[in-house]
């Protein structure tokens, strides 16, 4: 297992290398002078020259790349063109809200969706199954901002149970953290509950037709054990895949929710950077997103080997 992990981490290096090269070329190969792009429309010639020197744009491409990667490895992602803050620091501030919401959403979604999916498959064809599937269609079709505003109206404005919006770090105490994160989590988890419940139901239905489920029933063990011990574990592989990719998406792409609840997360940082053509930040975000996907995929694969002894690498 350890050897496998090391090999997989080792294999991720070229992937990240290619991403880094792409990110590097993104700026260099766009038509026009990178310095002019960076400086904006009203730049003076002196400012352009300053940017060129600071980026080393007068050096050969390969030297530029090596310098850039070297800086990258030392945690230097450059400086934002808009705020003039180090990109590393900007991202650092945004990571906690994003990861907190992604984690809480995925945990809530799994806790609700997996039992729903299992029950729907178990009671296949009955009103329970149709009810769960109906809920899941609802979860897919109602946009997240609608859910968000409804939740705010009911729980924050009418009932006054929680603040309307914002984010407090967990270091400020669990209470303030929790009361601010609960609504966005509920809003976001809607669609993930729908997705994971559907996936779980489909995977379970496949597995429930297998011979070993019949064997388990022939042993005279109760249905709960048949469902959980025999069916669910075999159905887990596709479900884990959905959970994993869902988690990666959650970290990087929940702009709408962040906007509705006014949370300073990575999603909004990315959108702001793109709109403002803040290239160093965009580059950093692409790198970060790729890294998240590589790590999540690694975790998914490790989960496979833990769940299914037949899978060996």
């Amino acid at each position: 297992m350890l050897g496998y992990l090391l090999r997989r981490i080792f294999a991720a290096v070229p992937v990240m290398g290619v991403v880094a090269l792409f990110v590097f070329l993104l700026l260099r190969l766009t038509p026009g002078d990178p310095a002019a792009i960076l400086a904006g429309d009203n730049a003076t010639p002196e400012r352009l020259e300053r940017i060129r020197t600071s980026l080393g744009l007068n050096e050969p491409l390969i030297v530029q790349f090596i310098t850039w990667v070297n800086k990258l490895l030392h945690g230097d992602l450059g400086t934002s063109l808009i705020s003039n803050l180090p990109v590393m620091k900007m991202i650092g501030q945004r990571v906690e809200p994003s990861i907190s919401i992604a984690l809480s959403t995925i945990i809530l979604a799994v806790m609700v969706a997996v039992p729903l999916g299992v029950i729907a498959a178990w009671k296949h064809g009955t009103w329970i199954d149709r009810f769960v599937m109906g809920l899941s269609v609802l979860g897919f079709s109602v946009p997240v901002f609608v859910v968000g505003y409804v939740l705010i109206q009911v729980f924050a404005i009418d009932l006054r149970w929680v603040p309307v919006q914002g984010f407090k770090s967990i270091s400020a105490g669990f209470g303030p953290f929790f009361e601010r994160i609960i609504l966005p989590t509920c809003a976001l988890s809607f669609i993930y509950i729908a997705l994971i419940a559907r996936m779980t139901r489909a995977a379970m239905l496949d597995v429930l037709g297998e011979d070993y489920v019949r064997t388990a029933r022939a042993k005279g063990i109760n249905e709960v054990a048949v469902m959980l011990r025999h069916a669910l574990r075999n159905a887990a592989v596709p479900v884990i895949t959905v959970i994993g990719t869902g988690f990666a998406l959650l970290i990087s792409g929940v702009v709408v929710t962040e906007s509705v609840f006014n949370i300073p997360g990575i999603g909004r940082l990315t959108v702001d950077a793109v709109l403002a053509r803040d290239y160093p930040v965009i580059q950093a975000m692409i790198l970060l997103t790729s890294l998240i996907y590589v790590v999540v995929n690694l975790l998914i694969d490790v989960a496979y080997t833990l769940l299914d002894p037949r899978i060996r690498y």
Binding site: D211, A216, D308
Partner: protein
């Protein structure tokens, strides 16, 4: 023989099982009555769709809920009614009073749970034993089913075990609580003959030791002859005939039973045909196929699937390749047809070397050799009409669509199907009919050689006999050469002129079928013949082989 006076362990009386809950649903089981007594084995025999598996699942209370519903009669297990028992009571009875083993040991065990724990689950559900006592009991049971290194196997996952070992685990799981009734649903059908023989004698042995009543479901008359005390023949949900083994095999009273027995191919090879002077159409020389498993780090593994196989086939003759699973017989067939590329050695088709020419150059030669696969349910594209499937080959070789379809109609008639079947889809045909279509498809290109890879193995005996007759007739009419791959020595004895016996990728013995199958020279061939179930019976003539004039051919 069991005492017929004692109360039966299983008493099925006038059982009716219908489709769905409606009173007028089709009857899958239509009023059958059978009894199984302590220490007795009742063989429930029938072809596919006869309702034998539904009978066993009804007894276990395992029918798919809502789809199949017992609508009449009674099933009594040691006097207790099963049909009206609650789910809770049924769960209590399973594994304690009645247990079941299934056909496919490969899929009947949960792949993600070690086998020891799967047996343990039975004990945890039904006994109050502590962990130590349970383990002791499991290991003891595993020894009773003659598993080696029980401690190691206890902790193994199913995929680490062979098919025979997995079936032993299933048997251990079924018998660990000493149930009164064991239902065995085709438990050896998916196994090789030598393994089958061991499993059959294991069931017999355990039955003797524990006094278990066994309801043994099978389609194989050979297996029936090996294991049954009494036989019940089923057809389309009805009981055709019941009686002691000897009576049913010697004096079947019903027409259907007679036909079923008559369709069982004899192990005694058919009289050999004259030595052929026809030209050789297919030759394999030192054909080898090695699979290399490449490892990321460290050494890869090599598997020799075929090792220097040499064979020749003349026009109008049938050559059989026989062997157990993993013997390499299918690998050889696939190398010859170039579905896979041989690692070394040569294949000459109608005098032309084809083993190493490129796929493009191979194309014109492909039509000279065609293949029919084992499973007719999966070898035809379900979304393409039968006619288009047959015509596709000739169209690829430049025949016009209209002509190809005309030929497809002729071919369908040749294989005994109506010509208007061209516009229908595969799902509208039975297994036997589909295999006829697959044969028609193969013949569409006028091949010199027809490769039949276990082409009758998935068929019921009566259908099997018809398809074998069809192949024989086609060979006589078209003079085609047939390479017949099979694990079934009975089938080989009836259709092959020559046979090649393979084991572990190597040819063990080859020669005229009449010679090899009656006077085998090699120990392995002898072992295979001895393991053939029911070899003591000449089913088609309703007598034991020893009583008949031994057909020395």
């Amino acid at each position: 023989m069991a005492d017929q006076m004692t109360n039966p362990v299983l008493d099925i009386n006038n059982l009716v099982v219908s489709v769905g809950k409606k009173p007028n649903g089709a009857k899958i089981i239509d009023g059958i009555s059978i009894q199984v007594h302590e220490g007795e084995t009742l063989c429930l025999v029938g072809e596919s769709g006869s309702g034998k598996s539904v009978t066993s699942l009804t007894t276990m209370g395992l029918l798919p809920k809502g789809t199949l519903v017992p609508s009449g009669g009674s099933v009594k297990l040691v006097g207790e009614e099963i049909l009206t028992a609650t789910d809770r009571r049924l769960r209590q009875l399973r594994a304690t009073k009645m247990a079941m083993i299934f056909q496919e040991p490969m899929t009947a065990l949960n792949p993600v749970v070690p086998v020891g724990r799967q047996i343990d689950e039975v004990l945890r559900a039904h006994t109050k034993l502590d962990a130590k006592a349970r383990k002791k009991r499991i290991l003891d049971m595993m020894e009773q089913v003659h598993l080696p290194q029980v401690e190691r196997i206890f902790a193994s996952y199913p995929h680490r075990l062979s098919g025979g070992q997995r079936q032993r685990i299933m048997i251990a799981m079924a018998l660990v609580l000493e149930p009164k009734l064991l239902i065995a649903d085709e438990p050896t059908t998916a196994l090789d003959v030598t393994t089958q023989k061991q499993i059959l004698s294991l069931i017999r042995e355990l039955q003797r030791d524990h006094g278990t009543a066994v309801l043994f479901i099978t389609h194989d008359m050979g297996v029936v002859a090996e294991i049954a005390d009494r036989v019940a023949v089923m057809r389309q949900g009805r009981l055709v005939e019941t009686g002691p083994l000897d009576t049913v095999l010697r004096n079947p009273t019903m027409e259907y039973t007679r036909n079923l027995l008559a369709a069982v191919p004899s192990l005694v090879p058919r009289p050999p045909r004259e030595e052929s002077k026809e030209p050789i159409v297919l030759e394999a020389n030192d054909l080898s196929k090695i699979y290399k498993e490449r490892a990321f780090f460290g050494k890869g593994r090599e598997v020799v699937a075929a090792d220097k196989v040499t064979l020749t086939l003349r026009k109008g003759r049938t050559l059989g390749i026989v062997g157990e699973s993993g013997s390499g017989k299918s690998t050889v067939a696939r190398c010859i047809v170039r579905l896979i590329d041989p690692t070394s050695g040569g294949v000459r088709l109608a005098g032309r070397e084809i083993s190493d020419i490129s796929r493009r150059l191979l194309q014109p030669h492909r039509q000279k050799i065609q293949i029919v696969f084992q499973d007719p349910y999966r070898s035809l594209n379900p979304r393409v009409t039968v006619g288009e499937s047959i015509a596709e080959g000739p169209i690829n070789y430049g025949v016009s669509h209209a002509n190809a379809m005309k030929r497809a109609r002729e071919l369908l008639e040749l294989v005994g199907l109506p010509a208007d079947a061209v516009s229908r889809y595969p799902h509208q045909f039975s297994g036997g009919q589909r295999q006829r279509i697959a044969i028609a498809r193969a013949l569409a290109l006028d091949p010199d050689v027809l490769v039949a890879d276990e082409a009758v193995s998935a068929l019921d005996v009566s259908v099997q006999a018809q398809v074998l007759d069809l192949l024989d007739e086609i060979q006589k009419r078209l003079g085609i050469a047939i390479l017949f791959i099979t694990h079934d020595l009975r089938v080989a004895a009836q259709i092959c002129d020559e046979v090649v016996v393979m084991q572990h990728g190597r040819v063990v013995e080859q020669g005229p079928a009449a010679e090899v199958l009656t006077h085998p020279q090699e120990a392995y061939t002898r072992a295979l013949l001895e393991a053939a179930p029911g070899r003591g019976w000449d089913f088609a003539n309703f007598r034991p082989v020893s009583e008949g004039v031994v057909a020395t051919a």
